[in-house]
Amino acid sequence: MVWVNDIIQGILVGGLYALFACGLSLMFGVMKVINLAHGDLAIIGGYIAVGVIAVTHIPVLWSFVIVVPLMAVLGYVLQRSVIQAALDRSILTTLLVTFGLSVVIENALLEFVNANSHSLGVNDAIITSSFSIGSQISIAYLLLLIFVVAVVVLTGLQYFLSRSRYGRMIRAVADDREAAQLSGIDYRHVFGIAAAIAFATVALAGIAYGMYSQFSPTTGTDTILLFAFAAVVIGGLGSLWGTLLGGVVLGVSQAIGAQISGSDEFLAGYIVFLAVLVLRPQGLIARKATS
């Protein structure tokens, strides 16, 4: 029964990891940008939520209404300016530029906020309460909510990509941006839209993490980015369902590792990550971000 509980907890945390990872996966799938500032941007989302809640006193769960659009706009602007400029030079340059962005964000946060940890809505009932199934299994509402949000986001994204006009344009540009230009599509704008979507999911990841745990300026790189990478690699780069699967596999292996020995939690996750890299480098589900 203990194991069943571990697996359930692992699956639920996997939803959070999938939320971390889907923006990273989308940006790689569409514009081949590996965004090393991904985690820091999630943390920015968290800090914006802290600020928004302090100023407007809206319930923590509703903070996304403001944070998500703000981050989406930031995503579009960053993509059309800094990231596009890097892309025009080479793919490798985007690695350097996003790494630089990561360093800048971290240090700016240390400078202008502080190094203390923050978290979101610690006193809200929904965040702290849970329900039990039997005597051994206890499920936190928050984790369940995050998991549901992750599934909804991934399903919505999948639907958007496969059915909508813009989704079709995004997939076309991901396949061949020059051919897309010949059809009248401005790929830079489409990249901007894709980045806006990715950043919107990043904002959700930041808020979710702020409610689930606590963050400081360095959390973005040392936790969120690493877990996002692990989830993406396990699941398969560019595949959205793979991302959910990757998050869940990572979450479950961490939970099982923690059960074996408290200090093995993260180790177990990375062992699975390495095993996938060695045995199935294309990921568990190898497909493009497209259908």
């Binding site: 997939r171 230009q181 010949l182 009248g184 401005d186």
Partner: protein, 351 residues
Amino acid sequence: MSEQGPSEPKGRGDAWTEERGTSDTPRAPKGAARSGLSDTPREPKGAAPSGLSDTPREPKGAAPSGLTSDEGARREDGASRAPGGEREDTAPGGEREDTAPGGEREDTAPILEVRELTVHHGQLQALDHVSLRVFPGEVYAIIGANGAGKSTLLRTIAGLHQPTEGSIRYDGQDVTRVRPERRAISGIGMVPEGRRLFGSLTVEENLQVGATYARKGPWTIERVYELFSWMKDRRAQRTEQLSGGEQQSVAIGRALVANPRVLLLDELSLGLAPVVVQRIYGMLPEILATGLTVLLVEQDVSQALRVASHLQCLLEGRTTLEGKPSEVTPEQVEVAYFGLRTPVGEGSEEP
């Protein structure tokens, strides 16, 4: 390049008449086919800029006959082209840039005009002051060996390369610095070399992407399905699963649904079996009947001669021959194509 006027076969206008004359003799329907192809520009005259909207009317009738007989007609054409003598009314000395005497189509403005285009790929000069003028309704073929700069020329016209020198005018507007997607929306369509389909998208999605910013016009996805009858049944298939010829058809359809006024075709024959190439080029009259102007690049000279109403040969980035297929001799083409010796006679240029 444009200075070589005097030695160049100029007046494009009257060639239609000639061609009809020569080809009519051996086979009756041919004249119809030919005129179906090439008559179009005549009509719009002054109306050239709005050409798209009014073009479809005239060719209608001519197209069907063109379709049925075009294979034979073209081949004949290619064969009878060699003598090339019978053009009294063309003015060999007509100037390139201005209207040639006696030509009807000079009354119309060129829909596409490239002046002194020079393009570099890094240090390498791919095009050296190439000029051309394409008139509405024309099938303008650019031939040349590998590396002659043909594809570079088309890609530069589409906006995918920036020229170091020269200008590109489309429909009277200078588009030299216009982004490729804006050019596409304004009516310059292109079927790129190697198809370049969206491989993870289905056939239908490829066409839908092509139609995203479609202009008004006769082409719709349904119409493309009519043109390529196999396509509708397989519209849900991913294009990466199609054969080369099928992919080429989808690529053509993707360009057509945008209703371009000028269609750039880059090496349609590349990597395809001769039979498939024939079939695809066989579609051309039907496509032209909707009022398109075609600028095509082709390595396969005989194929180009068969369909072209005007011909230009590139060698190492320069124009070595220009004229109507009926005016140039195979020897001239050979020389211009391979650059073996100094070209002689009309259509020659200092190499």
